[in-house]
Amino acid sequence: MTRRTTVTELDVPGRVTAKIFPHPLNAWYAVAWDHEVTAKAPTARTVAGRPLALYRTQDGRPVALDDACWHRLAPLSLGKLVGRDGIQCPYHGLQYNAAGRCTAMPAQPTVNPSALVTSHPVVERHRYVWVWPGDPLLADAATIPDMHQMDSPEWAGDGLTIEAPCNYQLILDNLMDLTHEEFVHGSSIGQAELSESEFTTRHEDDGSVTVTRWMRDVEPPPFWRKNMRDKFPGFEGRVDRWQIIHYYAPSTICIDVGVAEAGTGAPEGDRSRGVNGYVMNTITPETDTTSHYFWAFMRNYRLDSQLITTQLREGVRGVFAEDEAMLVAQQRAIDANPDKVFYSLTVDAGGMWVRRTLDRMLAAEGRALTIPASPASPATAPARATS
């Protein structure tokens, strides 16, 4: 899990096709599902290369401390929770509060005032705990991506985490271009029309990217036929199918997916004769070559059916296992071919805009691959375009 490879730089300036992409630090990353962080015992999790100890205070606030004691760097996550909001180092018993300040040194009457560990900004939102691993003074909760489907009463669903042994950018690529479904997910959601239909790519000033693809009057693949029948028992026939991929910087992708009875107006906005789901994905770089991949499938029909929730979660779990196998194989091939580069196709437009957004964020931190750092150029993209 701690294996590291060096970032592969570009040989052609202006192109952002580095294979292993560094991750911005000044960003919110989902660090855990809300239920994974408890007031009983700390949890260890590495985010953006930083090992963290996660826990909750007695009044329920999530806390993320650097997982290395000020004294001799023993991991605090092996310690225990003490008092209202504290954690005790398992080695010599130093205690810290939620702000990371040492509050007790068992072997002496006073406390060294410089004894502290970094406490990172933490926000609980959309069923996840989010942490800001970079400069705490730049954190602004308003920039947490909109994943309201996760906890809105109009949507129901559930998800899981994949511990993916690959660079986070590979997962973003995978989600920004769904033409791979025909080949990777042939038995569930794949179909030939995915590659044949037109798509548009849009990007906004805030770095967000949208890829839209409509497949009109197609045979529904098995996954979607089943969903249609959940809502419209006995459904037969052809559908209009859509995939609208919304990317939010740095690494959240919410995909509006669905099918509606062919010719009933879904492309024009009337989805009443169809089923609609949202595939929620937020990817957290763990190291350069490992990622925490949090996903969920949310739907806006048959909200009270736990059976459907479970079936959809298990169905998507199977689909994503196919992606994971490919991503692992791809990362291995990248490691085995350090001198070979990536080339791009038109289907990569979305993924390429994602790279540009990430590179601008890195530039603002003075770590860009291709854009020279300049204090005068903040991490914003130019005017939107369509391809």
């Binding site: 509060n97 702000a99 990371g100 509050t103 060294n112 005032p113 004894a115 933490v122 926000v123 003074l137």
Partner: protein
Amino acid sequence: MTSRTLHDARVVETTDVAVGARRVVLEPPTGARRRADPGTHLDVRVEVPGGRPEIRSYSVVDSTPDGSRLAITVLRSPTSRGGSAHVHRLRPGDVLRCTAPLQNFPVRIGAQRYLLLAGGVGITALAATARTLTRLGADVDLVYAGRSRDRMPYLQDLQAELGDRVHPAVSEEGDRLDVDALIARTAREAPGTEAYVCGPLGLLDAVTRAWRRHGLPPTALRYETFGSSGRHSAQAFRVQLPALGIETVVEPGSTVLESLQRSGADLMYDCLKGECGLCVLPVRHVDGLVDHRDVYLSEQQREAADSLCVCVSRVAAGPQGREPLLVLDLP
């Protein structure tokens, strides 16, 4: 951390922001621009009467994100040794020699609640902290004490921006700050509070005493201290270490530790700041007043005066005015 190199910053704006308080906006040269985090200050070179240059420290009240403009605010003090008068003479276009923003009062995020306590122009050290903590969504209260509203810089701005998080205590309006009651309430209602204090020494003393009296954790009280914290000014004194047959003099600019080492003693130390306690030696005898400048020894240990952090602590002349002497043992 940050270098103390002085550079020429251009004065771009001067405004009176309260009675006797002048806001000066500076534009550092391109190469010396650095984001000014809350709690940072500038070391500024001022001319005092007689032409001697001296260094003063002024908090950065606010700044642009890239550090291209920094504001300080200086109170014209009637007892000024010349520093504030110098700053008050500045006009747009003038040059002020100063450092890049230096940090010695950093805010840490993650506390359950923050109590910021400013007295008068002490607000300059806390205004940016209050704004930042508010933006981060922290639970923060800013208590701002002053004599009259027209002597409280930025009060209106802060109230407009932070609303009822700002609690003014204006003594001429009969609303004198009751430090003890405030700290008592904190201890009762929010013992997880981290307090940041900046203001006149009297305020600081009152807060420190109340903090201790109400049993709050000492590490949760932070205050701005510029320079040495000794009760007595540094003077030369004799130190003896009979176990090694050493007798030497500690000059004002040196420490017991350095002097003993120079005389050949092999001593253990680490932080050199009076924090770790590794340098503590037993005291056999003192002629004079022990000036404990460490934070390692507890109050009881200080009163007993049978041990000393030799990296920072000193001895000053007692009332008899004899040459001070310190006799140390080895542990």
